[in-house]
């Protein structure tokens, strides 16, 4: 079975998942993003003409202001024409199928789709369907993958820790429902992180998650012991239903990141979060705003990483 994200020369055709992505391509993306960050003057990334004349369609079947905005900024800094579509409120609610919507947008000469959908596999389906001149970036599909988030996380880790091969990383929280966690795990293991841990109650960890190459911890104190990187996950409010968790209070007590639990990690450990944060649920404000937190730099790097991915896919051919 052909890797659906690579073209016949092994180059990136779509970005659908960090799983199966060669380490060399991940490093290329991170290097390219570094160039965008260092070319910034006064913290501002200059506009570059790499996607001049290209049409980027942000198609969001699931609402997200933040991710869509960062993709929009990234595309505009690459000089692309950007069209935002919130499909949740348009065609499919009128009965048009996903692929009909995609066909129509292709007919409008889209060069690139940035897709978010509530169902796992939606981006793969679209990628299989579009003509080869069109590139697809998965901006989150169900519980499956959110590769640009994981790549910006890798960028952040590399920025602060320089190397991957000597790290101990803990991912904490609702791994079961998290596309971010899955993409982080594949990216970390691909880049050679020797020890990746997942920490959470059994109800929020998927069956056989250890097969993804991680160690499972239910006790957060043990799970954070001597780690270099803590990657917190967002806990959706609806998890309090369906008998997954009893209450936000109890969750915070056992799995919320506090100064006391953070003390288990190495003193120079970095704390990450994909946002938006629930303060007092998965993370204490004193940690989120504390000296170990790199949560805001993550957002800044996110634009550079998305620029890197878009320019790699849609740049001069």
């Amino acid at each position: 079975m052909k890797n659906p994200q690579l073209n016949k020369n092994g180059e990136l055709q779509h970005l659908l998942s960090t799983e199966g992505l060669p380490a060399s391509i991940i490093r290329d993306i991170l290097d390219r993003a570094t160039a965008f960050v260092t070319s910034a003057e006064g913290g501002e990334i200059k506009k570059v003409p790499l996607l001049h004349g290209k049409a980027v369609f942000n198609i969001f079947f699931e609402n997200s202001t933040r991710t869509r905005t960062t993709f929009e900024i990234a595309a505009k800094r690459l000089s692309a024409d950007v069209v935002n579509l919130n499909i949740g409120s348009s065609s499919t609610s009128k009965g048009e199928t996903l692929l009909d919507t995609v066909d129509n947008l292709c007919a409008m000469h889209a060069d690139m789709f940035v897709v978010r959908h509530s169902q796992s596999g939606a981006a793969h389906l679209i990628a299989q369907h579009v003509p080869s001149r069109v590139h697809v970036i998965n901006a989150g599909d169900g519980r499956h993958a959110h590769p640009t988030q994981a790549l910006l996380d890798m960028f952040t880790i590399r920025h602060y820790k320089k190397e991957f091969h000597n790290l101990r990383v803990a991912i904490v929280g609702d791994v079961l429902h998290s596309r971010v966690a899955r993409s982080q795990i594949h990216a970390l293991t691909t880049l050679g992180v020797p020890e990746v841990r997942v920490v959470g109650p059994q109800t929020l960890l998927p069956t056989l998650v250890e097969k993804l190459g991680v160690q499972v911890y239910h006790d957060m104190h043990e799970g954070l012991r001597d780690v270099d990187v803590i990657m917190m996950l967002r806990l959706q409010n609806e998890r309090m239903q369906g008998a997954l968790l009893p209450s936000a209070q109890e969750y915070f007590k056992y799995y919320g990141l506090t100064q006391e639990k953070l003390a288990q990690a190495k003193s120079d450990a970095i704390v990450m979060h994909p946002g938006p944060m629930n303060r007092g649920v998965e993370i204490d404000s004193s940690v989120a705003d504390g000296s170990n937190s790199v949560i805001l730099p993550q957002v800044t790097f996110g634009i550079a990483v998305r620029m890197a991915v878009m320019s790699m896919l849609g740049g001069a051919e």
Binding site: P4, S120, G142
Partner: protein
């Protein structure tokens, strides 16, 4: 009409025959095997040199989609596909629209099927009204109309008191109850086996316990009510073991498996292949191995196609939104042969699971070629290969996990009640 099938290799599992024998058909029945009856003058001679002659296949589960889902498939398209697959008898589950819960619907279905004069159709009646799991259907009336068993198809029956009473009532008349074990709470929103692949792909999962808990309930109630229980489409190693133990105990329990689960596992979902969106879900490779072992030792009585044609649009969706099901009647024979070849099972043994065994489940005197039996015959070329693709399938459903596979074994003739219902014979 008198037909002689000559020079073929005759395999009849029920009568334990595997030898070169001619078959003589007269008055819609098998008149003789081996030597022509006195004064037999054939109206038609079928040269089966190099071909294998077996009883017409009996498929324990094939959805014809009528009434109600004619946009997916019709009786005509699916029965034509069935005979092209060597099937001369099939049982259709009651999950039509409306469900087969009224005698009039069953009579209409039987009438329409008979008028097409392709294969035999044995309707399985609804166990509860509207398959809603609340009130019993008129089972005796439905039986008079032609229902051979009673089932919920894939619809849940969560109320165990209703289930117990349905089994008691069916037991009163000696009807068998066909149930697919799935706990609807544990299976809620699930689309794939709760294992490595669902975890990797982020698909909502259905644990094995959803099957074993429901199966355990059914077995307890079968013991209590003495109803004849047929367990449909088991998918896990644990279920095979439970059925094995129940049979050892002497319970009146039988069991089938879909051919998809004999050949595929969760791994075949690959990158979200919606053609592998099946119910029950494809499980692990260990489960598949246990299902194969269950067929071999007789724990699993029958292998069915679980034919469920789906229109293309319903599969062109993200995995979880894609409709459940795969077309199958044209693949039942080649996939039986493939399993037999892979496991080194003699055809005489393997074919039992698609002929006499499912016929016995339905209480029908078909699925064998004894003298005097209905002349339902499948004649196939065991060496012919073909590629499964849309154009090669007669079924209106083109959705199959086996698209692109090469199959060995091609049906040349299917005879039903002594007439040629399908003929794909190319003169050399």
């Amino acid at each position: 009409m008198k037909i002689q099938i000559k020079n073929g290799r005759l395999i009849d599992p029920k009568n334990q025959i595997d030898a070169q024998h001619d078959v003589f058909i007269a008055d819609k029945r098998i008149a003789a095997i081996g030597t022509a009856p006195d004064g037999f003058a054939a109206d038609q001679v079928i040269d089966a040199s190099g071909l294998t002659v077996i009883p017409g296949l009996v498929d324990a589960a094939a959805r014809l989609r009528e009434p109600g889902y004619e946009y997916k498939a019709t009786l005509e398209s699916e029965m034509a596909a069935a005979v092209a697959g060597g099937i001369s008898s099939l049982a259709c589950p009651p999950d039509t629209d409306p469900p087969l819960d009224e005698p009039g619907l069953v009579e209409m279905l039987k009438y329409r099927a008979r008028a097409l004069s392709l294969c035999r159709v044995f309707p399985v009646g609804a166990l509860t009204r509207g398959l809603e799991g609340c009130e019993l259907t008129e089972m005796a009336e439905l039986s008079d109309a032609g229902c051979k068993a009673f089932s919920q198809a894939d619809a849940p029956l969560t109320d165990t008191r209703v289930l117990m009473r349905a089994m008691q009532y069916a037991a009163t008349f000696g009807y068998s109850v066909w149930l697919r074990p799935q706990d609807s709470f544990l299976a809620k929103d699930g689309v794939a086996h709760d294992g490595e692949v669902a975890t990797r792909l982020g698909l909502p999962a259905i644990p094995v316990a959803a099957e074993t808990i429901a199966l355990s309930t059914m077995l307890h109630l079968a013991r209590e009510t003495r109803a004849k229980l047929h367990v449909c489409r088991i998918s896990s190693a644990a279920s095979v073991e439970m059925v094995r133990a129940a049979k050892r105990e002497g319970l009146a329990v039988t069991c089938d498996v879909s051919m998809n689960h004999v050949h595929l596992s969760e791994v075949d979902i690959g990158f979200f292949n919606a053609n592998c969106r099946l119910s029950p879900p494809l499980r692990s490779q260990r489960d598949r191995a246990a299902l194969r072992a269950g067929l071999l030792d007789g724990t699993i009585d029958a292998m069915c196609s679980n034919h469920s044609p789906v229109d293309d649009d319903a599969k062109q969706l993200p995995f979880a939104e894609a409709e459940v099901g795969a077309t199958g009647v044209e693949l039942l024979l080649p996939l039986t042969l493939k399993w037999a070849a892979e496991e080194n099972v003699p055809l005489l043994e393997a074919l039992r699971h698609v002929t006499v065994n499912p016929a016995q489940l339905l209480g029908q005197k078909v699925g064998h070629l004894s003298v005097g039996a209905h002349a339902d015959v499948c004649i196939f070329d065991p060496d012919a290969t073909w590629i499964v693709k849309s154009a090669a399938l007669k079924s209106q459903g083109k959705n199959s996990p086996f698209l692109g596979y090469e199959m060995r074994g091609r049906v040349r003739y299917t005879l039903v009640e002594g007439h040629v219902a399908y003929d794909d014979h190319f003169p050399q």
